[in-house]
Symmetry: C2
Subunit: 299 residues, 2 copies
């Protein structure tokens, strides 16, 4: 019942009003797998260059994250440099060097094709679809995307979303894909396009979840210090899929709990740069914050 993630393992340089870090560990598969590893075994499919620091490899190994599918290719690792001002919902890119990621053709090794839980992080929807087809009988498939693919690979994206259980988008992506300005209308459109549920991530404003028959909204966990929002969405997905992978039944109740666990994991991630804060917490810290979140929202 383990988890498979396909996405990027990258080296990020990030500046925010609260500091900066150069050449730190990043990438969607990185954030996802570390978050999910609190709940279950995770295997990564990604590619890095020959320059990828061995201490990051050790970091994955120490958390028992499977890197059999982490391909080391000739060349340099994917690098992203960006900054945020106080409006943390918008990342400003300085550069994106795809490097070895340019030729990324994810292949699922035979022994991982029985993986039961799959997260397709934000990559070309053709590749996402390809990976999905290689799995034998997944129990849960979640996918993320971004505005670029919604615009330039709309058909491929539509084919993909017809096959996934959970589609994760932020609010502007949901509006873009649906052509609806109201998020309830947008969600209704999206759910009619294929995925069983859509989760709309709104950063500091929390999260919404829609299926054909239900709606769920949750505010964000109240934080006193947000230092770097990079990776929050993938960390959210890691908490969500990680939690769901361990539940006996995936239903309305466990989905809602999973969404809160996702929010809690993301709330830790943004408290420091890179994955630093995630590396310093225990599952006990996560449960404690989950309980505080209940207190914060109960009426």
């Amino acid at each position: 019942m383990s988890i498979l993630v396909v996405g990027s393992v990258a080296i990020d340089s990030v500046k925010t009003p609260f500091g900066e870090r150069a050449e730190a560990l990043g990438g969607s598969a990185t954030y996802f797998s570390i978050a999910a590893s609190f709940f279950n075994r995770v295997n990564i499919i990604a590619t890095v260059g020959e320059d990828f620091p061995p201490e990051y490899i050790r970091l994955f190994k120490n958390r028992r994250i499977g890197i059999g599918g982490l391909h080391v290719a000739k060349g340099k690792t994917f690098r992203w440099k960006g900054w945020y001002d106080y409006e943390f919902n918008t990342a400003h890119t300085v550069y994106t060097h795809l490097n070895v990621f340019k030729n990324f053709k994810p292949e699922v090794p035979r022994e991982l094709r029985k993986s039961k839980h799959l997260f397709l992080a934000n990559i070309n929807p053709e590749l996402q679809y390809n990976v999905l087809r290689q799995l034998e009988r997944p129990r849960l498939v979640a996918a993320d995307s971004m505005n670029y693919w919604l615009e330039h690979k709309k058909k491929e994206f539509e084919r993909l979303v017809g096959k996934v259980d959970i589609l994760l988008l932020n609010d502007s992506e949901a509006r873009q894909f649906s052509g609806e300005s109201n998020l309830v209308d947008a969600a209704r459109f999206i759910v009619s396009a294929g995925p069983k549920v859509v989760i709309i991530k709104r950063g500091e404003h929390g999260v919404m979840y829609f299926s054909k028959n239900s709606r769920f909204t949750a505010p964000a966990y109240l934080l006193e210090s947000i230092r770097d929002p990079t990776g929050a969405g993938d960390t959210f997905a890691g908490g969500l899929v990680g939690y769901l992978s361990k539940t006996p039944r995936i239903n309305e109740a466990s989905m809602r709990k999973g969404i809160i666990y996702g929010s809690i994991l993301a709330s830790f991630a943004v408290e420091d740069f890179s994955v630093n804060r995630l590396l310093g917490i225990s599952i006990g810290d996560i449960h404690a914050r989950y309980r505080r979140f209940r207190t914060q929202t109960r009426f």
Copy 2:
């Protein structure tokens, strides 16, 4: 145990992407009193001009809203004209004609000085303080304000907030008054400045509530159609104070419920222009939406 509100009764002309209305009933005391009237008797202290339409007077009377303190002065009624684009959290003003409101010196008639629940809508904090001092022994005092007073009457505002139980602000006002960008820090500063609790209104992003010992956050009720956000904040206050005025004890639990009732009332108000939607609902509709909100947020 009735409610007293001091604020404006106005004539509004509003345009949004979903339509427009000219010369419609508006004003903070109007929205507040109609919302609160679902729960309890409300008395208004405000001033209008000789041109104030008699059908609006009848509207208040029909809802048993007390207008003994609604002074008809020589001149014209307060008029506001404004518009919104899709970003509903920002009102753009075309004009504000204070008219008779310019000389508004609220006096509390002797028979209303025993009012137990007071809402000081957004007016000059000197006037708010003056009204507060005329009440004999209120059980609950809530106050609203706006950026203009925080800047130009800061001392008077600080004197006022030292005397109120609930201070209502939106997020930018909370940041402005506290000088803190993080809302948790802002709230901590504000609560140390006097009010027992501060409620930070975030429009479509819900509401936060802070006291010395607790924090509460709630998302907004999910709406499919928002036509005019004018008056949402005062309607929220009306639902909150109206609900609390009928509870035997004002404590953490009733405060949270009151905040949800405030949100529910506001969710109705924004579905149509002016107070039109509020006039078409019953207390049963309000309770039904409250229950749907519970379903929407439970985990």
